[in-house]
Each structure stands twice: as structure tokens, then as C-alpha cells.
């Protein structure tokens, strides 16, 4: 029998037992769709995090106080307190030729009040450069003015939540608020950006770094954010930062310098691994579907035993009988994979509709892998039933009615 005729014969057999074939198709389709949707979610998470990181700014180098490297020997009894990272350090870092902008960051929690309304907020002490380093946008007024980072007027830029809760939704620019026991004049309102890497910028009050240090009574910075003069200067900026801090801290580079790219790469690896894991778990459903294929094929062989006997009596070789049943398994697997892909892409499109902000996307390898696994499972689990059919005794098969 030629290949096309074998396929047609198998197709007739598949379409003749509709319910059985439909169930098998459904199982395979769900497996494939699960792989497609779950990997698409993983890929979407990866892209989302990548996008968030890019939104933070470009070519960023972050300097944190304290070195994370492990040193040998017993732990010191008193513990090592790293030197503070100061505004002076930040100014020194701006002298590197690789660095375009520097934004020192001091962070603390303080009560903010206006009249009788009060709430706890995160206070971000920084400088004018923060606006461009973090790609912030203003809804009204202006950001912190440029000038000597060590001096700053008592001015504040507030997020949208603060505007709603303290100013009853009115424009806060020009009004006064109280932070702790100090009064600040509001000069700007941050645009409603929503969450950005865990910091809700709508809920912060931004003040000059010198004011923040006075407010919290500490000269230490939370971190210093550097923006390199280009992608190719990032590594140089990182090296310069280590060198400059070492010079200023008695030869000890007691800071940790991380680049945006390194963080991004780490997250990328994590999410790629996550996607593969989730895809692998979904692939188990395909194996389950494959076992169902085997079950259904065994039933098909049992039900069509007289037919197998007849084919043998007519002169079909065992090999031919095996091929006929394998064709059935292959056709069902392929159809199941096709249905699953359609279902999966439909699901992904639906997720995209409901969550437009989430960049859900099917990784190309996942679709291919799902089809390959379902095809392999369908065929592999079809081999045993097909061999059983091929080994059937024609006389006994013909007598089964």
C-alpha cells in the first residue's frame, strides 16, 4: 500500500470512531496548549522584568556601601561596619571620564503631614540628575533644582498618591508639607508611573539629599547611581568607581558595584530557567496524553481484531498491519498538536487582551518543542499497540466477532 493510501486508510479508521479520536485529540491538545501558554507566561515575565529594568534608565552602574566579597578567617567578634558612602564620595565619582551623571540616594521612612492629614511615606533624598538617570517624568511643576548636592533648599517633589491623599487631588505645587519636624515647599508632582521594580514612585516624597541626611541624622547614603557615558563605558565606569572609592576609603574598596546589565542578565537567566521548568512540567501532561493515546490505540486494536484478521487473510504482512496503526497514532498526534497550538495561541492572545501591560509571548522553541514532544509521545505510545495488532493470530482474530 502506498503511503498516501495508508494515510487515507488510517484517516478513515480515525474518523470512524469519532468519540474516541476526539477524546485523544483533546488530551493531546490540552498538553500542547499547556506547554504553549505556560512558557508564554514565563517568557512574558522575562520580558516584563527586562522592560522594567530598561525603564529604570540606561547604562546604569549602582554603587552600594559594603563589600559582599567573602574573606577568609574567623568572623570578627565585633562585626565589620563598612564606611559610609557619602555625598562627597558621590561627587568624587562624577569626576570619572566614563561617568555622565551621578545620583546619590538616601532613603528613609518619615511621616508626612499637611494640616490634619498625615501618613508614613518613603522619603528619597537625591539630586537633580536623578530625573534623567531614572527616566522620571513630571506631571506638574519641576524636579529638584540643580546645584551643590551638599546644600539643598527645603523643597519636595511628591508622587501621585501623596497628591490624592494629602491634597485631596488638587495640584500640590506651591503648597507646603511637613516632613518630620521640617517644612518643605512642594515644587513638583511626579507623573503617575505605577510600580517600578518594587518601588512605588507614586508613594514617595523626593527631597534634596542634604535635607534627607539632616532629616534622618545620618551622612550615609543608601546607594549611588551612576550613568555611564555609553554602553561601552559601563565596565570602565565600574572600574573607576572601585578605584575612586578605594582612594577615598584608605585603599579599601568597601563598596559593591553592580551593573544594570549584570542584574538584567541574572534575571534573564532566572526567568529562562523558570520558563523551561514550567514548560517541562507542562510536558508531563503530554506524556500523560501519550499514555492515553496508547490506551485508546489498544482499545482500537481490540475492537478491530477481526479487521486485523481479515487484513492478514487478505495478505497483509505484520509490518503492514503495524504501519496502519502507527499511521493512526501519527495522524491523531499531529491533529492533537495542531489543535493544541491553536488553543494555546488563542489562550495567549486572550491573556494579552486582558493584561495588555504584560508582554506575554510564545517562545518559538516552545511551540516547536510541544509539537515534537506530542508527536513523539503519540508515536512512541502507538508502537506497542501497533505491534500487538501485527502479532495477532489471524484465525483467532477472525473468529472474534
Amino acid at each position: 500500500m502506498k503511503t498516501r493510501r495508508q494515510a487515507r486508510f488510517a484517516l478513515r479508521a480515525v474518523t470512524a470512531s469519532r468519540l474516541r479520536s476526539a477524546l485523544m485529540l483533546l488530551a493531546l491538545a490540552i498538553g500542547v496548549a499547556a506547554v504553549v501558554v505556560l512558557t508564554a507566561l514565563g517568557e512574558g515575565a522575562r520580558r516584563y522584568v527586562g522592560g522594567e529594568f530598561s525603564a529604570l534608565g540606561t547604562n546604569l552602574v549602582i554603587v552600594l556601601p559594603g563589600a559582599t566579597e567573602t574573606t577568609g578567617g574567623p568572623p570578627p567578634i565585633m562585626g565589620v561596619t563598612p564606611r559610609d558612602l557619602t555625598v562627597q564620595d558621590a561627587i568624587a565619582l562624577s569626576h570619572s571620564r566614563a561617568v555622565e551623571r551621578v545620583a546619590p540616594v538616601a532613603v528613609g521612612i518619615a511621616p508626612v503631614s499637611r494640616g490634619s492629614r498625615e501618613r508614613e511615606v518613603m522619603v528619597l533624598g537625591t539630586t537633580h540628575d536623578m530625573l534623567s538617570v531614572r527616566h522620571l517624568t513630571m506631571a506638574a511643576g519641576r524636579f529638584l533644582p540643580p546645584g551643590d548636592p551638599e546644600r539643598g533648599d527645603p523643597v519636595a517633589v511628591v508622587g501621585d498618591t501623596i497628591r490624592r491623599e494629602l491634597f485631596a487631588g488638587k495640584n500640590p505645587v506651591g503648597e507646603w508639607v511637613r516632613l518630620g519636624d521640617r517644612r518643605f515647599r512642594v515644587i513638583g508632582l511626579l507623573a503617575d508611573t505605577g510600580r517600578s521594580m518594587g518601588t512605588d514612585l507614586d508613594q514617595v516624597v523626593v527631597i534634596p539629599v542634604s535635607q534627607a541626611q539632616a532629616l534622618f541624622g545620618t551622612p550615609g547614603l543608601f546607594r549611588v547611581i551612576l550613568q555611564a557615558r555609553g554602553r561601552d563605558r559601563v565596565e570602565m565606569a565600574k572600574a573607576d568607581a572601585m578605584r575612586i572609592i578605594a582612594e577615598r576609603h584608605e585603599g579599601e574598596a568597601d563598596v559593591t558595584v553592580i551593573t544594570q546589565d549584570a542584574i538584567l542578565a541574572t534575571f534573564d537567566r532566572i526567568f529562562t530557567a523558570l520558563t523551561a521548568t514550567v514548560g517541562g512540567i507542562a510536558a508531563i501532561s503530554l506524556i500523560v496524553a501519550g499514555i492515553l493515546v496508547m490506551n485508546v490505540m489498544l482499545v482500537a486494536v481490540a475492537q478491530r481484531t477481526p479487521e486485523v484478521g481479515l487484513l492478514k487473510a487478505l495478505g497483509a504482512t505484520p509490518r503492514r498491519v503495524r504501519l496502519l496503526f502507527l499511521w493512526e497514532a501519527a495522524l491523531l498526534s499531529l491533529a492533537g498538536a495542531a489543535c493544541g497550538l491553536a488553543l494555546g495561541y488563542l489562550g495567549v492572545a486572550a491573556i494579552g487582551q486582558f493584561y495588555p501591560g504584560f508582554p506575554v509571548a510564545v517562545p518559538p522553541w516552545a511551540a516547536g518543542a510541544a509539537v515534537a514532544v506530542s508527536g513523539t509521545a503519540g508515536l512512541a505510545f502507538g508502537v506497542w499497540p501497533a505491534s500487538r495488532a501485527a502479532r495477532l493470530d489471524p484465525v483467532a482474530s477472525l473468529e472474534r466477532r
Binding site: M1, K2, R5, F9, R12, A13, T15, A16, P306, E307, G309, L310, L311, K312, A313, L314, G315, A316, T317, P318, R319, R320, P394, V395, L398, R401
Partner: protein
Amino acid sequence: MNASSPDGPLISLSGVTRTYPVGGSHVHALDGVDLTVRAGEYLSIMGPSGSGKSTLLHVIGLLDRPDTGRYLLDGRDTGTLPDREQAALRLHHIGFVFQFFHLIPRLTAAENVALPLELAGVDAAGAAARVHQALAELGLEDRAGHRPDQLSGGQRQRVAIARATIMQPGILLADEPTGNLDRHSGAEVVELLEELNGRGIALLVVTHDPVIGERARRRIRVEDGTIVSDNGAGS
């Protein structure tokens, strides 16, 4: 069949035995059977249930292998042939007609008749022409597109006979071909089989029905796995 030895026997069984294990003991379905059939002969094989007459037909049709003894089909020793070559012999030299027709229910009459041609790899156009001719000869051309459940019993058996003869075999084996038909349809089927025999095909009919059995020129009676009477032995 294009007999390679025109004077030699078509079928030659000598000392054939076949035993089945049944509940711990062995049943001799065939016990030392010698049988020679020439090309174009018309035999009926009769005997009580369980006498071994069906097993004899299965052995001749290469669906069952004898435990001992020799079976020469057209001079070829079939005992040593692998499954693949036995299948090829069935395809080209032997046609089967069964009591329960054994048509594939999801295929049309024409597709059922075409099955052996497809197994033989005959191209689609040639196969269609041969199927059409075969159905026309049996007066079934208007039933070509019908599925078995749309046909009467007699029509079904005629489709099965068309399928059994489409490869123009030298041997036609019929196992109770009228057992599932009314008297009228049964008579039609027997006449058709005899007509085919008249064209030179060797016809072996296993039957319970003495009326049908008596029609054969040569009548064999099987009891307890042995041939107890044969009115044409050695002829």
C-alpha cells in the same frame, strides 16, 4: 493460478497434524491428514462441529501452520516460508469467503473490494477500473458507494466474493459461505461460487449443509481430525 507444474497437484498435504492446547490437554484438530487437490477442482468439506474441517481450511489458506507434516502449495513447501512470503502467497493465490462476510464497516463496497489491490500496490486508476469491472460482473455496480450496513446479506457476501477474487487467485476457500444467509441468497451465492469454479478457480467449501455439500463433484468428510471419506481421492 499460473501453475508452474501444470500436471502436479495445486495443493498437497501429507501427514498434517495440528493440535491445540485446551484446558491442560491437547486436542488434535488435524491428525495425519493427506489431501491432494488439483487446479480447478470443486470440493466440499463436511463434518460435525469441531471435526477439524475449519482448521483444514485455515491450514490450506496459510492462516494456520501445521505442527507436523508437509504442505506443498503449487509445488512449493510452505512450511519453511517466513510470514512475509506466506502473506504474499495469500494475497496472490488464495481468496477467502467467510460466513460473516468480514467487510470493513466504515469502507464502501468498492473500497472493500479494492483492499487486496491496495495491499498489492496496484496504482489507484488501475485498481478502480478492476473494482468497477468486478462489481459490474456481480450486478453490484449501483452498490459500489454503499457501506456494508446499507447492503443485504446476499449483497454483502457477493462483495466479499468480489474481494476474494479481485487478485484472480487459483484457490477460493469458502468457510460456511451460506451460513448467515437465507435460502434464496444462499443459493445465489453458491451459484456464483460454482460459476467462478467453472472459469477454472479451485473451490473448496466447508459447510454443514448437506444440500450444498452434495453439489460438489468431490466430497470430503472429516471427523476427529482425519478424512474419513473422499469420493475423489487419487482421481
